[in-house]
Structure formats: C-alpha cells, structure tokens
C-alpha cells in the first residue's frame, strides 16, 4: 500500500434503497406537478421524482419538489394540541378533547355574547378540496358566521373578481396546452421562471419548437423579461393604463376580431372609454416609449392566437381587479377566450387556491354558487339540511377587512387555519395589534413555530401534504390526487378530522359530516353536477390513472374539458361576456423626498410563501437564508451602499434591515425585497385593498433606504 494502489477499485455511489413509489401531487404552488414519493425498506420517504408522462410536468420537478420528502421530518412540526388559560401564560400540551372542548365552548360564548359574526375564520389555499368543503359546511351550516375568508384574498381575489366581472363566473378559461399551441404570449406581472418553473418549462419547450412573439410587462428584468421580444418595464402600479393603450391601438388599427360582438355587451361604451389612452398618453404615465407599446400591442393583436397570463403583478395591486378585466377585455376583442392557444389565464399561487374558490364557501356557497342568489341559498339549505334563513344574504368580510374589524372591536374570536398573517399580511404591526386585541385565537397549522401561534390561545396540530388523502385543483382546473404517504407526527390529525370533530361538538344535528374524504368527494360530485366546475365524471381512481382530470367533466364523459367558453356562451345572465370600461386613477402610495423609492415585493424560487416549510429544508434555505434587497447599482452608488452591505429600509409603517444586492435588474427608483421573511417586507408595505376584490396592493409602497453603520 505504501507505494501505491494497484488493485482494481470499485466505484461506490450512494444508492437509496427505494421499494415503492407513491402517487401524489406537489403541495407547493398551483402548477400541480405530479410527484411520486419514494419509500425505502424501513418505510421512510427518502426521495421525490416527477411522474413520467404526467400531463403537467412530465418527469421534471423544481428544487422545492425534489426535496418535498424532507418536509415530513422537518423541525417545528406540531405534534400535540396546546392550550393556555391566559395570554400571560405559555402554551401547554393538552389532550385533543380538552383543546376542542375549550375551542368550541369559547367560540359559542363569543357568538352568544357578541353575535354570530363576532367570530371570524381565516382559511387558506393549502388544504384539500374535501377539507375546504367540510370547513365550508361547518362554517356556513353550523357555526354560522359570515366573516369567513381564505388567504386566497392575498393572492387570487383580483383574478376571481375580474373573471366574475368579465365572464360572469370564476374559473380560468385556458390551460397549459395553450402554451404549446399559442402564437403569442403576453405576460403581465408574472415572474414565471421563478414562481412556476414547470409552467415556464412548458413555455420554453414551445418556444424551442417554434418562434412566437413574447411580450412581457414587468418593472423588473426577470428571466422572462430577458427572453422577451418586447419587454415593457412599466412603472409600478400603472399597468392598467398600458393595457388600455393596447386596446386603444388595437381598435384604432382595426385589428379587433369581428366575431366577438356576438358574445359580448358594452362595446360602444368600452370603445369610448379608450379614446384618451393613446400610446403617447400611456407613455407619459408608464414610462415606456410609445413606439414599443405600439409594436407590442400589434404583435399581440396580429397573432392567430394569443395567450395572456398574469400573476401577482396584476392581482396585488390597488386596481388588481380592473387589471384582470383589462386583460380579459383585450382577450375578448381579439377573440382569445377559450381558444386553442388563446385565453386569459391567471397563474394561481397556492396548490389548492382553486379548490378553495370552488368548494370552500368562503365568498359564497359550494360549486361557484353565491350567497346573493336566493336560488343557490335555498338549494344548499335543502342539500345540507339547514334552515335557509341561517345563511347570510351577502358575502361577509374579506381577510383584509377582518383584521380592521378586529381593531374596531367588531370581531372578538378568530380561527386561523394553515396561514400565517403575521408574515403574509401587509403592515405587520397592525396585524400584531389586531391579534393582541382578540379575546380568543385558535391557530390550526402543521407547524407549531409559525409566528401566529405566539398569539394564540389554542394550537391545533394538523397533518400536512401527503399525510392524508384528498384532491387539489391546479391553475388549469386539473383536479389531482394526493395519496397518503406517511402518518402525521405525534398526535397531529388531518384538518378534515379536526373539522369533523368540531362539527360534532358544535352540535351539527341534522347536518351530515361524512367520515372519510372519499365520501365527501362523492358529495362534491353531486353538488357540482351541471355547474361550471363539474366534477361528476371523476373518481380517485380515474384521476390517478389520467394524472389529473380537468373540470368541467360530466358524468358521461371520461376526459375533462381543456378550455372554458369555447362555445362563446358565458356565465352572465344574458350568456354574454362584458366589455367593461376602466378608468385609471393613480391612488398608489406616492414617493416623495422623504420616501423616494418604490418598494416592490415578490418571491424567489427556493422559498414558498412565509417559509414555514422551505425555511426548514436546509438544501433550499441555503440559497437565500436571510432577507435581501435588490437595488440598482446607480442608486446604490449615490447612497454609498456596496454589494452585501447592511441597509435599513424605512417606510411610513416601519423599518427592516436587509442585505443589499446591487443589480440592474431593478429600476434606479425601485427596490425589490422578497416577501418570504418574517418582519421584513410586510412590515413596510401599505397594502391598500382593491375596491372589488379586497386584495391588498403589496407591490407599491414608498420607502427610503439608509445605510446601516457597521
């Protein structure tokens, strides 16, 4: 050995001894990738892989999906129910019975003392559809508070509202196949490659096959913007003007289709409203050359089919709903709704934001039914066996307004399910104050270390993704199955079971709460029959076999419908879509001498939402372990800030310290901070709500930057 190694050497490469792969669907974003979790011989999940030939992701996964199996063992998981008598004491472990008894009796007390609506419930986009439906039944049929909303108000409310205003119902008309078939893509406020890498993959493959114009409207030079043929670096908050200018150009050039008149109403008013939105007018407001606006608008209008996508750049804005309607208007006049390769497709945020929209009864009743409709109320009352008068006749408060109502003292009790408003809501200080003011707070989450738990009186440990079975709906209306892979840790129980137990304690009397998710799924199918979101042709088995099924799918059909409204029949009473005139009013928070920078917030690829999950996966967290701020090198030079210096961002609401990253990715008058970190971005944001959707405007706050002395 001393003089070298002569023996032939075997190459030893670590092998994970995987015995079984279990079919699930990813629980992070709404792309809805098919994932198989690998189980080794001792029953531990040790790997994840993309499902081969899956209609969404065809064997590929992003970094979050690849390490999703590590979530089961991540630290901070809640294993036991916790309770405290007084806020001054610390949370102590109690039995499920105690926790639930205390919860229900306190809920009842509060409702008795202050009225039914003094209890509010904030849910999420993270549960399975069966769980959402059960929660909806519990809240609308048993508890009976009208202040019940999902955190989807923070991400998808504007899209929902925009779809409802234009087409008469929620429900994205397009699908992923449109990326393969389209001849032009318009992306507004969507950082697709970081937010939805696998949808981006679809787009990229399509672009590899054939060249088509890519128009990107985004104040940041994202990867998508760098790829674009026309990148329109719009001044934050002025996208509505730009979209109106697009429409103006299309109509002036006579490039609108002819067939849309049949399916729409309000064209004349719409046309008149656009007169002042010339490219020159838009240029002055949006800061983009008129010539560039013109080129982009014409490329969009001239394409045989054009797909328009948007994400939070539009939704999280003070005129988010209007922005969505503006995109819908463009699609309507160019005939790009429900067409192969042409639709306005909102790219959703959470894995089951769609499910909560369909069946959670948050903003209405299951199956896109509304509280405002007497017919729907009567139908659901009969179906559930509730007195019709128990339902409110109008939707209650949205999440954003619930916190204001707590501040005013109108809401005394709160039940938070799988969401973390202390990091996700704008103006953290205000949320803290509100939570402190509550008489009773219950937090139900799969992690006991979410910031909100610190303010809670009861903590209910929930099972998470793939610790239970159920379905979720993705961005393209594909309902997909998550099989149970492992048992939840300790005494944690599925949200479904927790809802059922609470229903029982609340005294659900005539209302039936089925014992299994599968039975609930059957109930959903019955309810969905004939609705836009028709599930009736689905079953768990069929879903798994097909890699997910897209609704609407009728009982007699075996494949789902890829697109909505292809027949030109919309959901307004007159079966037509509406062209809605939109006025732009600049009511964003404005910059001034004291607060000269516009703060934009957004995501990074390695993290999801408030980092409760991804912050614990070291292999993801290492890519961005602490908060940072993108600042233009020119602006940084003026302020004397260097790469990786500590800086303080100050807004009228608060301040946060981050590391500076010098990059020309952002405009000299803007800075960008990822929103994932607690006590950072949302300490600063103002978050004025959109008048239609009540979604907060996260992306335009005025701030100043100060150097932190070492």
């Amino acid at each position: 050995m001393l003089f070298g190694r002569w023996n032939k050497k075997e190459v030893n490469i670590p092998q994970k001894d995987i015995r079984e792969w279990i079919y699930t669907t990813c629980g992070y974003c709404s792309t809805g990738c098919g994932i198989e979790v690998g189980i080794d011989s001792s029953g531990n999940p040790v790997a994840c892989r993309g499902i081969k030939d899956h209609p969404v992701n065809d064997s590929k996964l992003c970094c979050k999906g690849i390490f999703e199996y590590e979530l089961f063992k991540s630290k901070g998981r809640g294993k036991f129910p916790l309770f405290r008598e007084k806020r001054s004491k610390s949370l102590k472990r109690v039995s499920w019975n105690t926790a639930l008894d205390k919860t229900v009796s306190k809920f009842k007390d509060i409702q008795k003392k202050y009225g039914r609506d003094s209890l509010a419930i904030i849910s999420t986009g993270q549960l399975y559809t069966e769980e959402f439906y059960t929660l909806g039944k519990l809240v609308r049929g048993v508890i009976g508070t009208n202040n019940y909303d999902g955190n989807t108000t923070l991400c998808m409310a504007s899209a929902v509202s925009g779809y409802k205003r234009s087409f008469g119902s929620d429900g994205p008309p397009g699908c992923y196949e449109d990326f393969d078939k389209t001849e032009c893509l318009l992306a507004v406020g969507s950082n697709l490659s970081e937010q939805h890498p696998l949808i981006f993959n679809r787009l990229r493959k399509s672009l590899d096959r054939k060249k088509f114009p890519l128009i990107v409207i985004d104040p940041r030079v994202t990867i998508l913007a760098r790829m674009a043929d026309y990148h329109l670096p719009v001044k934050p908050g002025t996208d509505l003007v730009l979209l109106n200018a697009f429409a103006n150009l299309i109509l002036t050039e006579g490039l609108e289709g002819s067939s849309f008149h049949k399916h729409t109403t309000g064209f004349d008013q719409y046309k008149n409203s656009l007169i002042k939105y010339t490219p020159e007018y838009a240029s002055a407001i949006c800061g983009i050359e008129p010539e560039l606006i013109k080129k982009a608008a014409l490329a969009y209008a001239k394409a045989k089919s054009a797909l328009s996508i948007w994400t939070m750049g539009i939704n999280q804005s003070i005129h988010g709903s209007d922005g969505v309607v503006a995109i819908n208007n463009l699609a309507l006049i160019t005939g790009n709704v429900g067409k192969e390769g042409g639709s306005p497709l909102s790219i959703t945020g959470q894995c089951n934001a769609m499910g909560t929209r369909e069946f959670s009864s948050c903003s209405g009743l299951p199956g896109y039914r509304t509280l405002e409709s007497k017919k729907d109320r009567r139908f659901m009352a009969e179906f559930w066996g509730v007195d019709e008068s128990f339902f409110p006749e109008q939707r209650g408060l949205a999440e954003t307004d619930i916190f204001s109502a707590i501040e005013k003292g109108n809401i005394k009790g709160l039940w938070i399910i799988a969401t973390n408003p202390l990091t996700s809501m704008p103006d953290t200080k205000k949320i803290k104050k509100a939570l402190e003011k509550l008489e009773f707070l219950v937090v139900q989450d799969c992690y006991e270390d979410v910031e909100t738990v610190g303010y809670s009186d009861v903590y209910l440990p929930a099972a998470m993704w793939a610790e239970k079975t159920g379905v979720m709906t993705n961005t393209e209306r594909r309902v997909n199955l998550i099989n149970k892979v492992v048992d939840p840790p300790g005494e944690a129980r599925s949200d479904f079971l927790i809802f059922n137990k609470i229903a029982k304690r609340f005294g659900s009397k005539n209302i039936d709460f089925p014992a299994t998710a599968k039975e609930v799924f059957e109930e959903i199918k019955i309810l969905s029959k004939g609705r836009l979101c028709d599930y009736s042709g689905m079953s768990y088995e069929l879903i798994e076999k097909a890699g997910g099924l897209q609704w609407p799918i009728s009982e007699s059909s075996s494949t789902g419908n890829k697109r909505l409204y292809s027949d030109g029949i919309f959901k307004h009473k007159d079966k037509k879509a509406k062209l809605i005139p939109l006025k732009f009013k600049d009511d964003n928070e404005l910059t001034d001498k004291q607060y000269p920078f516009i703060l934009n917030t957004g995501r990074v690829v390695e993290h999801f939402h408030t980092r409760t999950k991804t912050g614990k996966i070291e292999n993801l967290n290492k890519f961005s372990p602490v908060a940072y701020m993108e600042i233009n090198p020119e602006a940084a030079l003026q302020l004397g800030i260097g790469h990786m210096d500590k800086v303080r961002i100050v807004s009228r609401r608060g301040e946060a310290v981050v590391l500076a990253q010098l990059t020309a990715r952002v405009a000299p008058d803007s800075v960008f901070v990822p929103f994932h970190f607690h006590n950072i971005a949302n300490v600063l944001t103002l978050g004025l709500p959109d008048p239609f959707s009540r979604q907060p405007a996260y992306k335009q706050s005025a701030v100043r930057i100060e150097k932190v002395l070492k």
């Binding site: 070298g4 190694r5 190459v11 992003c62 890498p197 493959k205 760098r226 020309a664």
Partner: protein, 547 residues
C-alpha cells in the same frame, strides 16, 4: 496516465451492465448559458441523488451580470466537475484517490481513499472537488456513472427545467458547439475540461459576479470576455489563514534544512563537534513536531501513510517523501552523534546526502505551489522565497546556537562564514519580491487582485517585510565585515518575524481562479459576513451547520 485509464469501471450494486452503453468515449456536459434559470433543480437533484448534506454540493449555480436597466443581462452558470481530459486533480492527489476511467471518460474520486489534504481543491480551476469538514474528506461529482451504466443520463441533466444542461459524447457536438468558454469560466487551458458551451445572446461590455467578487469580465475587441480586476477597494482580511499549520511546517522545515546543511557544509562545528549533537537533536525533534502538525492538518490524519500512493504524478507525495527522507537522514545523523555503533560510511554518506535531500525537498515543496489555478503562487518567486528562507533563518539559527553554547573562541569566524548565505538569501528574496510584483501586475486578473491587496490592504505588512529583508541584508553584510555578535543576533531576531510575515502573506494573498457564486450560496464573502455578524446564531439557519 495510461495506467489509471486502463482500469475497468466497476460500480457497486450495478454490476450488470448493458454492454452497449459502456461507451469508451469521452462524455461531457453541454451548457446552454442562454437558458439557465438558476432554478436550483440541478443542484437539488444532485444533492438528493447523492444523499448530500446541505453544506456539500457537487453542482453549484452562480451568475455574472451587467448592463443598464432595463437593458440588463444575467448569465447563470451551473457547474459541476468537468471530468477533464487532463485532470489536474488526479495528478495532484497524493493518495491516488482519483481515477480517470476509459468508460465515459469519467474522473471518479474515491472518498474512502482520500485523507483530506485538500490539494485537489487548490488545483482544480472550477472548484469541483469540495472538502467535507464533517467527514474530513473531499468528495465530488461522480458523473452519475451508476445511471450512465444503465443507459440513463446524470440526475442534473435529467432534471434541468430550463433545458440548459445536456450530456453528450464530446466529439458528437464538437463541431456544432466548439465553445469552451463563457464569461465567468476560467481558462480551459489548465485541464482541458470536457464541457461545451452555448452563449449566443449579446452581452453588455462588462459583467460582474453575483458573489460580488473582485473579478469582473470585460469584453475585448474580438467580442470575447477577459477576466479583469474589478474595483480598487479591497477587503482587509485577517493575515491568519486556514493554512497556518502549513506555514509553520514549511518555515520550520526550511530552517532546519538550512541550519543542518549550513552546519555540515560550512564546517561550523569542526572544532566543537560535541555541540553539533545538541543542535541536531533539537532540530530533529522540531522537524518531527512540524511534520506531526502538518499531518494533523489533514482531514483524516490516521491515513497519512497514503501520501506516497501517487509519486508518479503528485508533487505533494514527492514532497512528503523527500521531507521524510530528510527526517530519516537527520535521525541517523542525530543518533550517530550520540552513539558509536553506526558505521562511519553510513554517517558520511548521510552527511553528504543531507544537503542534497534538503535541496530536493525544498524544490518539491515549491513545486506544490506551481498551480495554474493559483497564479499568485505560480511564479519563480515561490522557489526564491522558500530557498531564501532556508538560506537566512537556517544559518542564523545555527549561528545563534553556536554563539549561545560555543566556547566563544571562533565566534567571529563562524559569524563571518554564516552571514554569507544570509546576505545572499535576503538579497535574492528582495529581488524576487520585486520581480513577483511585476509578474502580478502583468499576469492575470487574479494576480492583479492579489497585487491590489498587497499595495492597498496589506501595504504595511508588505513594507515591513521589505524593510525586514533589507535590514537583514545590511546586518548580515556588516556581520561579514565586522563579525559582530550583536549585529548577527539582531539579524536573527529580525529574520524570524520577517520570514513569518513573508510566508503569511504568501498564504493570505493567493487569489484562486473560481467559478462565480450566487449572492448567498457558494459565496465566501457571505459566509464570512454571516459568521462575522453572528447570523449563524439566529434561530433560522443561515449557514448549513458544517460549513
């Protein structure tokens, strides 16, 4: 190389090959820089496949960027081992942990054989081998040869979301994509990497690195990018480095070789041979200690004996072997000075051999640092510095010892003789230093960065070093003339801190070629900042535990 190449690939658990896919051609990665999204999927897939702890990554993605808003461009670069056709890691490794296989042209490193000297991490221009502090061994990309032998592609390639990573037989794509360079990638001249690039988008004239490194990339007249130094403001780092054990080892070994050779060759102890036995004993123990410390510097010291596995290629191995022989010769000389049973011819040949072995071992020691990926060291000044240290502190130590313990009758004569090598050594070292500065200015971006650091951030240390050397030269010159004990002693006490400073700067100022990192991950300056700001104590983990 032939010998190692001929080894057959044998993957544990995968012994049944499909013969057809066991291709004996050089495969390589193809990277389309236009397409990489920095979505981390390749890194994640690699980490999951190889079951790596979070502090270890075989594949890393960094970026370079430039331009003015909104005409901003960024190139993300995903890089693992390039399975070079001329693997410098294999040649450098003293334990022969590396093997270049004929199958797929894979360069495979065996962590079981590795004893953690980390020399491969020095020589690899692409930072492909990574040292795992937890296990004390180096590890690196294995080409997923278990998958290759089943006809599949490496995990990173299979998972790439942007369609940027591909895997080919190199000759198949050589015509279509001859490019072996993109901005941020060190020169392919060093090791002939098995990688091809595509980068077709028009880039701005200047690109800087995401990790904020001091190297930027400037477009030249032909449209190619050249690495240049970026910005003059350097970072004042500590002069103490992780290589402190090596600093101690090299300086001590050189002093001992100088001292013993000087004593033997110049006949200092001719009239007082009994003094020599004490000197030899002290130096023998000291050399033993120095070697022990340098062994402890290894990730897995208990496998130190593997250091001579690769004498055929590795200068590290040769150095260890030659210092080992110096130690043995010194041992024999030492023992023979106390006992009489060792035959005279052995003692004589040891006396004759010792200076020769000393010169050879210092040559090997200097050769170790002749690393293309570390231009600061790759200069004749490394030889100059090492030999000069031998010529100065060695004889000075001997002289001082003589002055302290001799009977004093020959002091002046001894001082005069011993001052000659000191004068020569310090003079050469001063000249070497200047020639090194000139070289640093002209050589490469990395050497410019080092030069900038010398002239700005370490100007006092550098000045002190030159003053020290100058003073030693003057003192030794005066000693030759006057034979003054005091001047000689002064030279000795000046030489120790001066040589320490010289060597510390040698290890501190080296700027290796490197792949651009990202803002947080694979960024040394963030690691330092996080440690400095005590971010590591935050409840959320900022750095992986073992980093």
């Amino acid at each position: 190389m032939s010998l190692l190449k001929k080894k057959n690939l044998l993957v544990v658990n995968k012994k049944e090959y499909k013969e057809s896919v066991l291709n004996k051609q050089q495969y390589g990665f193809f990277f389309d820089a236009d397409k990489c999204l920095m979505c981390h999927s390749c890194e994640a897939a690699c980490g999951s496949k190889n079951d790596l702890s979070s502090h270890i990554a075989f594949r890393k993605v960094g970026f370079v960027e430039g331009g003015k808003y909104p005409d901003f461009k960024r190139i993300n670069i995903s890089m693992a081992c390039n399975h070079c056709e001329d693997p410098v890691c294999l040649k450098g490794c003293p334990t022969r942990a590396y093997t270049k296989y004929e199958e797929f042209g894979a360069v495979i490193q065996d962590p079981e054989t590795c004893f953690g000297c980390q020399y491969c991490t020095w020589v690899c221009p692409y930072n492909a081998p990574v040292f795992d502090k937890e296990k004390g061994v180096v590890n690196k990309c294995n080409f997923c040869i278990d998958k290759l032998s089943e006809g599949e592609r490496p995990a990173c390639v299979e998972t790439c979301v942007g369609g940027a990573l591909e895997f080919f037989i190199l000759t198949d794509i050589a015509d279509q994509y001859p490019d072996r360079q993109i901005p941020g990638f060190p020169t392919p001249e060093i090791s002939n990497p098995s990688i091809r690039f595509k980068q077709s988008k028009i880039l701005p004239d200047f690109l800087s690195r995401g990790d904020g490194g001091k190297i930027g990339y400037q477009k030249d007249t032909t449209g190619n990018f050249q690495a240049v130094q970026k910005g003059k403001e350097g970072v004042k780092s500590s002069i103490r480095t992780e290589e402190d054990p090596l600093l101690f080892f090299t300086l001590t070994a050189q002093m001992i070789i100088g001292s013993v050779s000087g004593s033997l060759m110049l006949g200092v102890f001719y009239y007082e041979p009994f003094l020599l036995r004490y000197l030899l004993s002290i130096l023998f123990v000291l050399l033993g200690m120095a070697m022990f410390i340098s062994v402890l510097h290894l990730g897995r010291p208990r496998f130190f004996y593997r250091s001579t596995n690769n004498l055929r290629y590795s200068w590290v191995g040769r150095e260890i072997a030659s210092v080992g022989s110096v130690f043995s010769l010194l041992g024999i000389l030492c023992i023979s000075s106390w006992v009489t049973f060792i035959p005279e011819f052995i003692v004589v040949s040891c006396r004759l051999l010792f200076p020769f072995a000393g010169v050879v071992s210092i040559f090997c020691m200097s050769q170790i640092y002749q690393i293309k990926a570390r231009p600061f060291w790759k200069h004749k000044n490394t030889f100059v510095s090492f030999y000069s240290a031998t010529l100065t502190i060695g004889p000075l130590f001997t002289g001082l010892f003589y002055l302290l313990f001799g009977d004093g009758s020959y002091d002046e004569q001894v001082i005069k003789i011993l001052s000659i090598p000191v004068l020569a050594g310090s003079t050469i070292q001063i000249l070497g230093n200047f020639s090194h500065l000139k070289y640093l200015k002209e050589n490469s971006a990395e050497s410019n960065v080092s030069l900038n650091q010398i002239l700005n951030n370490f100007k006092y240390e550098h000045g002190l070093r030159l003053c020290g050397l100058g003073s030693i030269a003057i003192l030794s010159c005066l000693s030759i003339i006057t034979g003054s004990i005091f001047l000689f002693a002064a030279a000795f006490f000046l030489s120790l801190p001066t040589q320490y400073l010289d060597r510390a700067l040698f290890y501190t100022l080296v700027t290796p070629t490197s792949m651009p990192g990202a803002f947080f991950w694979n960024n040394k300056s963030f690691e330092q900042l996080a440690k400095h700001l005590d971010m590591t104590k935050m409840s959320d983990k900022v750095l992986p535990d073992k980093l």
